[in-house]
């Protein structure tokens, strides 16, 4: 008999007996049974608070009614949810709230979506009996970007304060004053800009009345006038579900539903960063460069020109003189068609995309260790982990909603949090142990952890024996990585390393989360292999709460890889080098496919610079900001014979193109994205595109057909059906099946439920393979001439090259601009204070940035975000590549302050 079955007990609610699980609240049960209990201060994301008293119900034997939201059911409890007394109390409470609330429904933006209004209607509380008394005083407040605050409407349910604390851990607002004068406010009533506010808008999302609103949506429309479309967020790879509110073809508001995968939580980008869609700067017609200027041309002319130019290059220099960069921002269907165009129509494997710059090391490293290069577990697994090791991931900024899961696990569920990061990122404040390693020494630190685990007998011998191979090689390597030696290499204190090793190894389930701090090194693949070693050594794979979890940076970077927008693999990672795959895909696409592996991103740029690549087709990428050593990239692009960019804006890269094609945003088309947890999710058309912009899948089809092919698809759904037919891991996918919450691959057939955890019982490649890895220093280390280390990354409120985020009014205000983060010690040495201009020089170039003095940076290390054209960090970075993954070393180079 299962434990749960014995633990179940009977309670009586409104005269009926029901069996319930332990730890069920009265409200949980009522929800399950469809019994309506009104609540104002309850939000399932938060701990019960019991302030509004609206959910009171009668509990037999209790003197006073009890709050349904907080009362845990016990055996034989008898509950009545709507007696006369309860009804009367609820009416009184609603009446009291109305008596202290402006009668402002006629002009209130929340009208129609206001819980107080809803309950007043339901309980028939009209002209309140208690009206006419004093209203609570409202103290002056600054106005803020994005978040509108009208505290006269506040009912003090405390949800905003609690969500800012319990969920976001931003602690920006609190209750001030007492009693009737209580007001939610910032410290001393300052602007949110001067607080720790992260502008996630969770407070707005949870406010049950009109006190907190989306400031810029004010007066745009009544709640019921908006057309609402469910879709997936276009920023990072978390895959948050969005609800776009649209009126008159304008996105007026973005919300997320409480029952979404992300529980209604969004970050500042997903919640407020939508202006780019309706931006007047959007491209509306194809542009042709005449001299130094662009002129608008018709689609027919553009497509004809492109076909003619590419045909000429192909006939004169062969198909490999043409290359294409696909886009991790575009849908699966578009990526699939793009690589199909390159391979079957143009006839080259020269197709790659920005995954090269983020997780190429992951794809390579995990594939040889486990047989699959994707995140092994699911996002919601994290909350079940006993220990979480975060290495090289600034999760709360780069993947904010996954960051919330990490925080919840550590703060509420008792998980041990180990953070390995050279910077004092937010997670370090909540960590049980923080190992601040010198950038580029991850292999040493990981080997050190494994050394301690072996030495202290914490390895999972059974797992190693049954599930893995080549352990002996690792066993031979580890003895030399003593904590003391690792301390010498990395600067991580030996005792902290020991502590971290124990925390990770002793947990029942331990999860590793990593991102570009691991991958963007010349030792990227080595780093990934070391993580795989660590997880296998402790048996932390194939179960909930465990895993090796690379967080993918772009909304659809997982999908773009899955779709084969890579030079060496077809959709589903079927190898170009294998004849069987070539035959299979060639047959499906009705052509014979080239067998030579194509060029990667940086190699394409090099080939363009040396003239071996003459034609380039870039869809939705901006290498002029995103690639290392952009000075070199610029020269390469200038050197091309024919250069086409397809994008939504005239980006830094598009400005160099001969031909620019106007594409569509996620809001204008149907399709799918695949999130970092391998979940294929829908995007849905919410608005009409501007001008003559075409969806990217349509453009690719048009280009193919202009080049003599006969691609014909009526809809992205049809393209997905073709993807399913040629991609084993997507075999069971269809728009119909993924309609609600998506499906996680592998999903080989129509009956398969999807796969939340990979490698259960058996690795994709059979046995997991250990790879002994020795520490190698980064390609460029500080020296007398360039004495400091420059490392790059992202900010919470910006995304990638800023093409999308920086179009949103207010977004630049809520974070630093073109900043270079520098430690107080170095700042003192160079006589710098926050806001000063600082010139940074590396062997590639120099830029001027705004100094930001912060103890987030440790002495000797400068951090720069790469979002800003004002101070393009990638003029400084080192294009040295990992030998296998060809990923550049964005995370370490030597720099000096001029």
């Amino acid at each position: 008999m299962s434990k749960t079955a014995t633990d179940k007990f009977t309670v009586n609610i409104n005269g009926e007996d029901h069996k319930v699980e332990p730890k069920t609240t009265i409200l949980d049960l009522a929800d399950d049974l469809g019994i309506k209990i009104p609540t104002l201060c309850h939000d399932p994301r938060l701990k019960p608070f019991g302030a509004c008293r609206l959910c009171l119900v009668e509990l037999e034997g209790a003197r006073n009614p009890v709050p349904a939201c907080a009362t845990i059911l016990g055996p034989k409890m008898v509950i009545k949810t709507d007696t006369e007394r309860i009804h009367a109390i609820r009416k009184t409470i609603i009446g009291l709230l109305l008596s202290d609330h402006p009668s402002d429904c006629l002009t209130c933006d929340t009208c129609g979506d206001c819980r107080l209004q809803e309950y007043a209607y339901e309980y028939g509380v009209r002209e309140a009996d208690f009206k006419g008394g004093e209203l609570h005083p409202v103290r002056p407040q600054e106005s803020d970007p994005f978040i509108g605050r009208d505290m006269s409407k506040c009912i003090l349910c405390g949800r905003c304060v609690r969500i800012c604390d319990e969920v976001e851990a931003a602690f920006a607002i609190d209750w001030t004053y007492r009693g009737f004068e209580t007001q939610v406010n910032t410290p001393y009533g300052e602007s949110l800009l001067d607080t720790t506010c992260e502008f996630c808008g969770l407070c707005v999302s949870t406010c049950p009345v009109g006190a907190l609103t989306e400031a810029r949506s004010k007066g745009k429309h009544r709640v019921w006038e908006a057309k609402k479309t469910l879709t997936t967020c276009p920023y990072c790879g978390t895959g948050c579900e969005l609800e776009l509110h649209v009126k008159d073809n304008q996105i007026t508001k973005v919300k997320s539903r409480p029952d979404s995968l992300n529980h209604g939580n969004l970050c500042v980008k997903g919640k407020f960063g939508y202006d780019f869609v309706n931006s007047p700067e959007r491209l509306k017609k194809p542009l042709l460069k005449k001299g130094t200027d662009f002129v608008e041309i018709e689609w027919e002319e553009a497509l004809g020109l492109m076909a003619k130019k590419f045909a000429k290059i192909k006939s004169e220099n062969g198909p490999d003189a043409i290359a294409g960069l696909s886009s991790a921002k575009c849908s699966n269907e578009e990526n699939y068609l793009f690589q199909k165009l390159m391979r079957s129509v143009i006839g080259t494997n020269n197709v790659d995309h920005c995954a090269r710059l983020c997780h190429a090391s992951t794809v390579a490293g995990l594939a040889i260790s486990f047989g699959s290069g994707a995140m092994t577990n699911s996002i919601d697994d994290i909350e079940d982990a006993g220990a979480i090791l975060v290495i090289g991931s600034n999760t709360t900024e780069a993947h904010p909603i996954i960051g919330l899961g990490v925080l919840k696990a550590a703060r509420e569920k008792g998980a041990k949090l180990i953070v390995i990061d050279p910077r004092g990122i937010k997670l370090t404040k909540f960590a049980d142990v923080w190992l601040p390693q010198k950038p580029g020494t991850d292999v040493a630190v990981l080997n050190g952890l494994m050394h301690v685990i072996m030495e202290e007998g914490l390895a999972d011998k059974d797992f190693i024996k049954e599930r893995t191979e080549d352990f002996e090689a690792l066993e031979k390597l580890l003895p030399e990585y003593t904590p003391e030696k690792v301390e010498e290499i990395s600067g991580v204190p030996a005792d902290d390393l020991r502590l971290a090793a124990r925390m990770y190894a002793e947990a029942d389930a331990a999860s590793v989360i990593y991102s570009m701090g691991i991958t963007q090194h010349t030792t990227g693949v080595d780093n990934v292999k070391s993580i795989a070693n660590l997880a296998m050594l402790t048996g932390n794979l194939g179960r909930r709460g465990t895993g090796v979890n690379p967080l993918r940076g772009q909304n659809n970077v997982q999908g773009a890889c899955d779709m084969g927008a890579l030079p060496n693999v077809y959709p589903g990672y079927q190898k170009v080098a294998e004849e069987a795959s070539r035959d299979k895909l060639g047959k499906a696409w009705g052509c014979s496919l080239p067998d030579s592996t194509g060029l990667t991103v940086v190699e394409i740029m090099n080939a363009a610079a040396d003239g071996s690549v003459k034609g380039l087709y870039i869809m939705g990428e901006n290498p002029m900001l995103s690639d290392p050593d952009v000075g070199h990239v610029e020269e390469a692009l200038e050197n091309l014979d024919f250069f086409v960019v397809q994008d939504i804006f005239l980006t830094e890269t598009a400005a160099l193109a001969d031909l620019v094609l106007p594409g569509q945003t996620f809001a204008e088309k149907d399709g799918t994205f695949t999130s970092t947890e391998r979940r294929v999710q829908r995007i849905r058309k919410a608005i009409k595109p501007p001008g003559e912009a075409r969806s990217d899948w349509q453009i690719i089809t048009d280009v193919a057909n202009a080049m003599g092919d006969d691609m014909a698809y009526n809809s992205p759904s049809e393209i997905m059906d073709e993807i399913a037919s040629v991609t084993p891991s997507y075999g069971g996918m269809s728009f119909e099946r993924i309609d609600k919450v998506g499906l996680q691959w592998p999903c080989p057939d129509k009956d398969h439920p999807g796969t939340p955890v990979l490698h259960v019982g058996k690795f994709k490649r059979g046995l997991g393979k250990f790879h002994p890895v020795n520490f190698k220093p980064p390609a460029e280390e500080p020296d007398a001439e360039y004495p400091m280390i420059l490392t790059t990354g992202r900010l919470l409120n910006q995304f990638h090259t800023g093409t999308m985020t920086r179009k949103t009014e207010g977004m630049d205000e809520v974070g630093p601009i073109a900043s270079a983060e520098i430690s107080p010690k170095d700042a003192k040495k160079h006589n710098l204070k926050t806001g000063d201009k600082v010139k940074l020089v590396t062997r590639r170039g120099e830029i001027e940035a705004n100094a930001l003095v912060t103890d987030k940076s440790r002495p000797g290390i400068i951090f720069m975000p790469f979002h800003f054209h004002e101070a393009p960090a990638n003029r400084l970075t080192n294009p040295a590549l990992d030998p296998i993954a060809k990923i550049p070393e964005f995370k370490v180079c030597a720099v000096r302050i001029k």
Partner: protein, 611 residues
């Protein structure tokens, strides 16, 4: 019998407020040159607050307590009593044969206050001399922790902070709750206006509280204790600090107490002035450095309290009982009191009572005996109207039910509560509506703002009471008042909101006629509600001396000596200084029921018409 002469001045807050410091200095000076050598010492409060400054003179002939001592009396006391051994009979409050205040103490049973006013609170030796710390020694050496819990359970002791939960059960729950770290908290955030028994115990006998906490720590398995004391009690905090240091010095606090493996430390945390922090969950939040705001229970502190560890919270008076119980045995304690309420309760008697002060009486004494036997009856011939009992959120009981026994259950039945033991005696000059308004205003000010019924509901009740006392209410407002009071009581989150309507509900229950008089007639029988009364000069009685004109602080009285004087009703603030100073009793507060009121009324309207 003491061999040496001692002079002991009561230096509790009540004594200090009455000028004890000057008296003490005067004795210092006088005794420096006295014939007979006398030791000058201090003690706390014996409870006779209405006779402060109190001075004990202990000679080989016995102990004499003088009351209402002022510095100029000191030389005579030293001369006649200290030097010549002749007590000054007309100043004696108490002596070994009785004295005029003897009846105050005669009916009391002093357990909590056993040492108050009897020893120097700043000398641990004084406490040790009266079997101090014998109880913890007995517990550690002769009793298993479980046995201590059993003993407290058997004593029937209930929490003296107000709610009256059985102390032994609370200890048992905390003892049995899983957790390595447990805490004892002493709630010394005594916030009820008019209640000062905890302050008195802390100032007069701090070691009894510390010993009670030690015993609790031993019984429960806690190693750390907090005393959460309101910052408005600086003397209590100072003496507690000294007592903790002294106890540590004697090995009675700290590591390995009395050589055992029991260790216990106490920290003092000062409150910041919020009444609601007397509520246990708000109190813990405050200790943790968070906003003092009550949270939902369960979980109760016994399972998840301070920093989510099992925590036992009792108040000062509860802890002060503990050592006595361990020393004398549960049986002796349980023999005192009624079936459901054992032991004694300390009351702070205030209001229109002859002897206002602290009295500790056995549970089950009738209200009548408390007021008339212990308290000496009404002050200045006032007419007994009722008592307000249980602090600001207690209830008002009328004279008719004065036979009610003072215990938890009987008081709850009447609609009042035991509360922390505040007892305000009321006479005919108290308006019950105004009294309810006063207490509601207190509750409203002290609401933390978290839950709707307390935050907004008490505000609306207060507004209705304002309307009634201003004569602007209708009878329908009474219905709203009742609905609000009942719903707030049933639906508030914490004890503050759940009891805040009690003054309203109990006055409505026993004194509804006064509400109706205010509403229907604009009549306040106590003459308190300023909007419903007028101060008028009877021209018949007035001798035109103009004393009133000189005294009126707002120059509302026109006229001059040998002239007709008149009060301008628009300017009058009804401070009643004129009423008090008129040598001819010619000025009176009048209500709508008196002829003078109507005369004024018609004159006013006449004025309006002529203008």
């Amino acid at each position: 019998m003491p061999s040496k002469t001692k002079v002991i001045v009561g230096l509790g807050s009540c004594g200090l407020a009455a000028g004890a410091k000057d008296v003490f200095s005067a004795f210092e000076k006088e005794l420096a040159s006295s014939k007979v050598t006398a030791e000058l010492g201090q003690t706390g409060c014996v409870g006779l607050c209405y006779r402060e400054v109190l001075v004990d003179v202990i000679t080989p002939d016995g102990k004499v307590t003088y009351g209402e001592v002022v510095p100029k009396m000191v030389s005579r006391i030293v001369e006649e009593h200290v030097n010549d051994g002749k007590p000054i009979s007309e100043w004696i409050a108490l002596d070994d044969n009785g004295g005029e205040e003897a009846p105050f103490l005669a009916e009391q049973k002093r357990i909590v206050l056993r040492n108050c006013g009897q020893l120097d609170p700043e000398k641990i030796d004084d406490y040790l001399a009266v079997d101090g710390y014998k109880a913890i020694e007995k517990a550690i050496k002769k009793m298993a922790p479980e046995k201590v819990v059993e003993e407290i359970k058997a004593s029937g002791l209930r929490g003296r902070g107000g709610a009256g939960f059985t102390t032994g059960l609370k200890w048992e729950f905390t003892r049995n709750a899983p957790g390595d770290k447990k805490y004892i908290i002493c709630n010394a955030d005594e916030g009820d206006p008019g209640a000062f028994m905890d302050r008195s115990v802390l100032e007069s006998d701090p070691h009894s509280v510390i010993e009670g906490m030690l015993i609790a720590g031993y019984a429960i398995g806690a190693g750390e204790g907090y005393i959460y004391c309101r910052a408005e009690y600086p003397l209590a905090i100072e003496r507690l600090g000294k007592a903790i240091d002294e106890a540590k010095g004697k090995g009675l606090l700290g590591d390995s107490i009395l050589g055992s493996d029991f260790s216990f430390n106490i920290k003092i945390k000062e409150g910041a002035g919020a009444f609601v922090c007397g509520e246990e969950t708000a109190l813990m939040a405050s200790i943790e450095g968070r906003r003092g705001m009550p949270r939902l229970r369960p979980p109760f502190p016994a399972t998840s309290g301070l920093w989510e560890n099992p925590t036992c919270i009792n108040n000062v008076e509860t802890f002060a009982n503990v050592a006595w119980i361990v020393n004398h045995g549960a049986k002796e304690y349980a023999a005192i009191g009624t079936k459901g309420s054992k032991g004694t309760k300390v009351f702070a008697l205030t209001g229109k009572i002859a002897r206002s002060g602290l009295a500790e009486v056995p549970m089950g004494m009738t209200l009548k005996d408390v007021v008339f036997k212990v308290g000496g009856g009404m002050k200045e011939g006032g007419e007994f109207k009722g008592v307000q009992i249980g602090g600001p959120t207690g209830g008002c009981l009328p004279a008719e039910i004065i036979e009610t026994e003072v215990d938890y259950d009987s008081l709850t039945q009447t609609g009042a509560t035991m509360g922390s033991g505040g007892m305000v005696i009321l006479d005919q000059t108290t308006c019950m509506v105004d009294l309810a308004r006063f207490f509601m205003s207190f509750a409203q000010n002290e609401s933390c703002g978290k839950c709707v019924p307390c935050r907004v509901g008490t505000k609306r009740i207060l507004e209705i009471l304002d309307k009634i006392t201003a004569g602007q209410a209708e009878e329908a407002d009474l219905e709203t008042l009742k609905v609000l009071a009942v719903d707030i009581k049933a639906s508030s989150l914490c004890g503050l909101g759940q009891t805040a309507p009690n003054p309203v509900l109990s006055t409505l229950r026993y004194f509804e006629n006064e509400y109706l008089e205010h509403i229907n007639e604009g009549y306040c029988r106590a003459g308190v509600c300023a909007d419903l009364t007028k101060v008028v000069i009877s021209q018949k009685l007035c001798r035109q001396c103009a004393v009133c004109i000189r005294h009126c602080p707002v120059t509302a009285i026109s006229g001059a000596r040998h002239e007709l004087t008149e009060i301008s009703q628009g300017d009058c603030t009804q401070c009643q200084v004129c009423v008090a100073t008129c040598p001819w009793d010619a000025i009176a507060v009048v209500s709508p029921r008196s002829a003078e009121f109507k005369d004024e009324q018609s004159e006013e309207s006449a004025e309006v018409t002529t203008e």
